[in-house]
Symmetry: C3
Subunit: 336 residues, 3 copies
């Protein structure tokens, strides 16, 4: 059974700390080995990607490997995930063959597969990426699933380490307004990784934008283990007072999961949730983080984004280094 990278939840704090150190070693040029020489990694995008696509290709290339990019498209190539299915409808290939074949060609498979945005109860357990993992003979690397984006989270944790040094920091995840409801993978994975690494986490969002209940329970348990607690607030200012890291992100309401039209009115009330210089001035000289793409002057004002406090390009660059650490680790566990 290969070791997958589906969520940071499956990796211990020590393992995550070690991946961060390797990411920084790659960035500083201290680590230059090419463990993927004469090997290949498949990068499968069921949904569009620019940043992930560029950084993953480059990561595989710099590790000495050959990246194969496949874009089945969200509609043209439909995968059957159910075991025992009678495939007489429109789905053309079972995930068993999909990963079985790629496993003959590649040392690992990166997969981006967004949520269907249909049934919250079903999708909150991230079943699609789970089906890839269950059937794959080689490690699956999650390049953003319905509920998790662990490569982004590891790059974010690397950026905090790089900017602020090791140790516990006061980290705030702040919901910001956006014209459309977005998936929850990034806030889920950021909050989880921050809690796993022992940071003091504050989450601020308007009422109705609660994260998954089970995830919040997990965050609280992790915080308790680290002698701290998670603070959740419905006031944006609470995220800023004394914070060292402001992580801005918009997401949709679970109450209107996949129903953008129905959510519109509730969402419209929170347009003032935007990061600006005044809010930043309440912090303890915090850095500003965002996974990108970002809506300028909607999620955050130009003056914050263009200030030295902004770490958004560092986060994007660290995607490359973090992913090199992840790929090198999961592929080393495979003796081919």
């Amino acid at each position: 059974m290969p070791r997958h990278f589906l969520s940071t939840a499956d990796w211990s704090r020590d393992e995550l700390e070690s991946l961060i150190e390797e990411a920084l070693a790659f960035k500083r040029g201290e680590r230059r080995d090419r463990p993927l020489t004469d090997r290949s990694v498949a990068l499968v995008f069921f949904n569009p990607s620019l940043r992930t696509r560029a950084s993953m290709q480059l990561a595989v290339n710099q590790l000495g490997g050959y990246p194969i990019v496949l874009e089945p498209g969200s509609t043209s190539w439909t995968i059957e995930y159910a075991e025992g299915a009678v495939m007489d409808r429109d789905r053309t290939e079972h995930v068993a063959e999909f990963v079985g074949v790629l496993g003959r060609y590649c040392a690992a498979i990166g997969v981006r597969v967004f949520p269907a945005l249909k049934d919250w109860r079903e999708e909150r357990a991230d079943p699609i990426i789970g089906a890839f993992a269950r059937r794959s003979p080689v490690p699956i690397i999650n390049l953003e699933s319905a509920m998790h984006h662990p490569c982004q989270a590891l790059a974010d944790m690397t950026t905090i380490r790089e900017r602020l040094g090791a140790g516990k920091r006061r980290v705030s995840l702040v919901w910001v307004w956006h014209p459309k409801p977005l998936p929850m993978a990034v806030p889920n994975s950021f909050a989880l990784a921050a809690a796993q690494l022992g940071h003091e986490l504050t989450i601020a969002h308007p009422p109705g934008y609660e994260l998954d209940d089970e995830l919040v329970r997990e965050l609280n348990m992790l915080a308790h283990d680290h002698g701290t607690r998670v603070r959740i607030s419905n006031e944006i200012e609470d995220a800023f007072d004394g914070a060292q890291v402001i992580y801005a992100k918009s997401w949709g309401s679970r109450m209107f999961y996949g129903m953008a039209e129905e959510e519109r009115e509730m969402r419209a009330a929170y347009r003032r949730w935007i990061v600006d210089v005044k809010l930043m001035s309440r912090t303890d000289d915090a850095i500003f983080m965002h996974c990108l793409p970002v809506r300028r002057n909607v999620e955050v004002t130009d003056d914050v984004l263009d200030s030295p406090a902004s770490a958004v390009l560092d986060e994007a660059e660290n995607r490359l280094h973090a992913q090199k650490a992840i790929i090198a680790r999961v592929c080393e566990r495979e003796a081919r």
Copy 2:
């Protein structure tokens, strides 16, 4: 005039046997040369592809070359194939310039171009891939045309050799039900290659699903040369009794070429044409083959597909090795 790889029909039995041996030498790691160093191969997909795209890129890369993947799309980039055409309609480039330019960049050109599914009489002669070949200054490798898929066929023959050893085998091509009529390139090329290599071929399909008349004549002549004969039956069981290889594939009826709606009723009557354990038990311990993607529990049941008899992942893997042998061969014939 370059040596193309359009159909196994243009290659002698000795040449095909030699390609199979080279494919197995690549697979076993006995052959590791990189004849494409500092050279490039263009892979042109007028139709979508995952398996062919992945395996061809990897084949070129492992031979030391640089693969350029081009996806003109079936609609956005329309090629004129007729000589002397006045191009004042919607076709934007003549095949002469298309291959002329790529021939300046690349040692060979792989082309996937599916049938238009309009006129059987015209398309049965595979005129589009022929136009590429006629105009190209470098070898054209057929990555599936209207009527042939020789890379698949060579991988299939390699798999039979690998699983069952050299020599004549009792090989059955079995039509299976599928919700949609599919092209005939795979069954055409499989039957042809099996006959060329001297296997004892049985073809079973429902009435109305006959292969091309001229192809069948060719199969009979080849069988006669090898002291055997081709058996064609309208009973599925005939394909299984005593067989050593079961090759399942669905295809559309020539009578309703390109007319899925009109074929529907005739097709519906043959839903029971599915490979299952009971049919497999009639064979001489046969291996099960399919080119993939396969509809589970529609073309073949899970228990056959997941059994040790199934060679479908071997076939997919052997695409890589067979294609390395093909590319190396056609490119070596070109003195650049």
Copy 3:
């Protein structure tokens, strides 16, 4: 501030001559260095491309680098170019972050972005590619913008040098009929580069198909500096008498910018503007040039295109060599 390659206008005659010499050195195999080793170049296509895509990938690869091809699509990924914009509509990322992130991964960024074909007054200044250049921390290479295609122009000038030797030539840019109005990037850049290099330029087009006024003033000033003049005619024959180079190209009328329907009637009157053997016989044994794709027997007859005078495949091949010279030059100026 990086040195971009947006238009030949920003490069001196000496610099252009030197790039041509380097292109020919690459072509002859005299230059084989790999200055992009361990570096990457992003190739961003907002519009489709085959020739540019193939030749740029190969150029980066042959220079030792790793090309990352990104295809945001003209609709799915919409970039905001305006400084200070409030991004609450449909544009998902600002050009500042787009190039900021790629600048962390890559030594240079190639961009193809066609005109919106909405407002001639605005687009004639090529504002989109300008926004990329203004914000990018690494060199931007123009792979065809609204108004310029300098890589094509440099390949064309290299082809003239190769076919006819150094020195002033009698070069004609000839409008030809095409069923659709096309952008003006290629004629703009060809005329500009020809004038910069001191060639004697004739431009023939029907009335209503005038090039940009400011560009024509620039052409006249350049010609004056080189002791010659630009001749502009509304008679196709004037382009051929005594010419050494015939460069055929179709383009749309500025009067009906982006209005194909409204232009139709005016355009229909000039269907006789096609290059044929009779016109070519008026020249001084001229070579025939076209950037491709070309409409056979619409823009030029088969017998001209298939004659030894045709240099169209040389131009396409020289794209590769010219681009290697350009990439090597702009990347060498960057000390990373």
